[in-house]
Symmetry: C2
């Protein structure tokens, strides 16, 4: 059988693989991408995009209902079939023609099927129709296969929904039990409760483990306001199905009965069937990489996105993908590698400035270090807390606006290390904080970055007032 030769083989055509391939192609490499499901990946079809489509209709109605005068005009019921049709449109009815066309237009070859490493730089692709394609890479292979939901042992027998099912469902159950308390659990609880489903969450420890505690508290209050029955701390001890329902027995002996169960209990790497054993690695493991996204101990294998376990977020994987595509091309062509911090060929922000938005009601948006993380890392930390309700922009936006924002400052260097916002409409406040963290813009300079009145961005003014400004009498603070 003929082996097709490329400079670079990318396994996995989600947003991450697409970015690796795109940048490498721009850098002059002949690139092929291998995909066994839909080009565009989980994010486009079974995660970020459809979950936001399910969340937005109730979310925007809540915003309207928070404003006297508009509240009365927005008192009708959500049109559930219209919500689901809108979700279907958002995922392009699970048709990847457009994305495949984009690959072609970018000069990237696509081979459909399951890719497996059979030796260093060699990939075998088995298509659903048993066609086999052998690929060889002159320079590198990039694994961009992402992660899959982890189904815990105690739920395995009842075959629960995973986020894939919950984001693609065409019929809503009357009741849904969600096991887990992370971002996926909280977002899908919000979505389903907003759509009128009776939701119970079974959460082992706190919600949203790594965010600032005040943000987790705000999400908890929001879920309860939506009628979600929160069992916390609690775990499933046993699960079985009756004819109509699933029955979960919790560790305190109580029971939860629900038409459907969603396992949202973490992710596992999609590396178990990649042939890692043929190149000296362990199937099922996350793939540890250096800051150029190259797998440790190899000079040809890259792992980009979820699969390297640095940050499990689409946008951060795309960011890694740009660096990886560029550095693969640079190395292939014997060019300079720009691997200093914040260089073009490293994913420095993975350590210092990962942004995340949780699309709950209220939203949570965070970047960089929390106060606890900054303290643990040994920074001289100063914490600035602002009640967003004190802002004219909050009062303009909603009656009885509730929200809070925290800035974490390196008190020696006078720069922002992180920020967390919780409140309606905070998602779009995040980029300003991300730029301040990444750009290491001094807070004294930020006094000149005037927020427009009256917008939520005036949180910056409150932070700066709390931080202090040198006056004729006092020095800062």
């Amino acid at each position: 059988m003929e082996t097709k030769e490329y400079d670079l083989i990318v396994i996995g055509a989600g947003p991450v693989g697409e970015n690796v391939a795109d940048r490498a192609t721009a850098g002059g490499l002949r690139t092929v991408i291998v995909e066994e499901e839909l080009v565009g990946g989980s994010c486009s079809y079974w995660a970020c995009v459809p979950s936001k489509a399910l969340l937005r209709p109730h979310g925007v109605l809540s915003e309207a209902r928070a404003v006297a005068g508009a509240r009365e005009a927005a008192a009708g019921d959500l049109d559930l079939p219209a919500v689901l049709r809108r979700r279907d449109a958002a995922v392009g009815d699970w048709d990847d023609t457009g994305q495949a066309d984009w690959l072609s237009s970018a000069g990237i070859d696509l081979v459909r099927g399951h890719g497996e490493l059979i030796a260093p730089r060699r990939v075998r692709v088995a298509a659903a129709d048993d066609t086999v394609t052998l690929l060889a890479a002159r320079h590198a292979v990039a694994v961009c296969t992402g992660s899959a939901p982890r189904v815990p042992a105690e739920l395995a027998d009842i075959q629960p929904w995973t986020s894939r099912d919950a984001t693609s469902a065409h019929e809503l159950p009357a009741s849904l039990a969600i096991v887990g308390g992370g971002v996926v659990a909280c977002e899908l609880a919000t979505a389903y409760a907003g759509l009128g489903v009776r939701v119970t969450m079974i959460v082992r420890s706190g919600l949203l483990g790594r965010v600032e505690p005040f943000a987790a508290d705000a999400v908890r209050a929001g879920l309860e306001a939506l009628g979600v029955d929160l069992r916390l701390p609690a775990a499933v001890a046993e699960a079985h199905r009756t004819e109509k329902n699933a029955v979960l027995t919790l560790d305190d002996g109580s029971r939860v009965v629900a038409e459907q169960v969603l396992a949202a209990t973490g992710r596992i790497p999609r590396t178990s069937d990649l042939g890692l054993e043929n190149v000296g690695l362990v199937p099922g493991d996350w793939l540890a990489v250096d800051d150029t996204l190259r797998v440790e101990g190899t000079d040809w294998l890259y792992a980009v996105g979820d699969v390297n376990h640095r940050v499990l977020l689409t946008h951060q994987g795309k960011y890694q993908g740009r660096a990886a595509g560029d550095v693969i091309a640079a190395r292939a062509r014997g060019g300079d590698v720009d691997a200093a911090p914040w260089g073009a060929h490293v994913a420095t922000a993975d350590h210092a400035a990962v942004p995340q938005v949780v699309f709950t009601e209220p939203e949570v948006a965070a970047v960089g270090l929390t106060a606890a993380q900054a303290q643990d890392a040994g920074h001289p930390v100063r914490v600035l807390d602002v009640d967003l309700a004190s802002l004219a922009g909050a009062a303009a936006r909603a009656d009885d606006y509730r929200g809070r924002a925290r800035a974490v400052v390196d008190d020696d260097r006078g720069v922002l290390l992180g920020a967390t916002f919780a409140g309606a409409g905070v998602a779009d406040l995040l980029q300003a904080a991300t730029i301040a963290v990444v750009g290491e813009v001094p807070l004294q300079r930020l006094w000149h970055a005037v927020p427009s009145f009256p917008t939520l961005a005036e949180v910056w003014l409150r932070w700066l007032e709390a931080y202090g400004r040198e006056s004729a009498l006092t020095t800062r603070r």
Copy 2:
């Protein structure tokens, strides 16, 4: 009569005067503030705050109606009495007790009445009850009296509404003719049209003179979609009233008949009755200042906010106020003056980074230089245009989202000079651009400021892609 002595006299207790007084007091100066109307100023009672209160209910309903599934739930009518009650609450029913209490808590004395300069550093305050207070300043006087609407001669006879009337009205006219095409005209046209009033705009030249043309076009389309009858270019030649209506004859001979007329044709400085003639200045003039906000040719007089004609925006006036209060205190105490660009005692951002949001439908948000302004200033300009509809965050937010964003880049230095956004919900995108401009964060560093997926902030990614990224093959662009 006894003369009361202070370190600093501030004339005008709007947000600008409050900031001057607050910072000077923090710097150790004994400060008095003089106010003839309400403490809190126009912004709180007759401008920014009530106009946003009138805009938000329809604005948020429009957002809900842009999302299938929610649209059906938000099909009711605005509750107009509730909208007006909410506006009344936003302005505290035009009661300034809370703001006056704040002055007191900050250690700032308040004298109510009309202030007039009678000599350098001397102010005479005449209260409504004819009480007169004489004030003397050991160090400085700061004029923060702001600006007032200009009523053009051809409308003077019919005593039109100004923005004060339009923002504080308790009964809505059936029809409103708005003369002017600037921010006030466009926002109030949006507000009144959204509340069901038949609105005609008579605009001499283009809308929103100084914004990027594409943003003005978007606002024009938005006004037309709200049913506003735009007469452009057109001017009022003659105006008279009948029993029920005002009748405007335009310069092309056509007529506009409306129950009420709003003059939104610019602003004049509130300096005609300040006694400027007693200190060698011309009543009715704008007060020219240096970057420390000190009136040229004096060593004791400051003019802060609208009245100096640098930037007619509340937030920018407050920004000037902080610098002015600090520098007045520094000079009074013989301390160092930090007057280098971006120092604590100068309003550098007035030249380089003025942010503004126009709360129309769609919103416009802009900071820094437009492409034309940057070219005129001799910068090596590169323009990056992005169709916001191409963003996943736009599709998540609204069906058929329309919007556009432009970045203006200094192509030699690789930094942002300005940015303009037009689209629903862009107000809170602005601060990120403001920080990038003020912080002079290099675009190559901004590749590490990852926008969260899927949010409108992904506009940054599109801008950066358009700008280019060094690859192994190509240098930027």
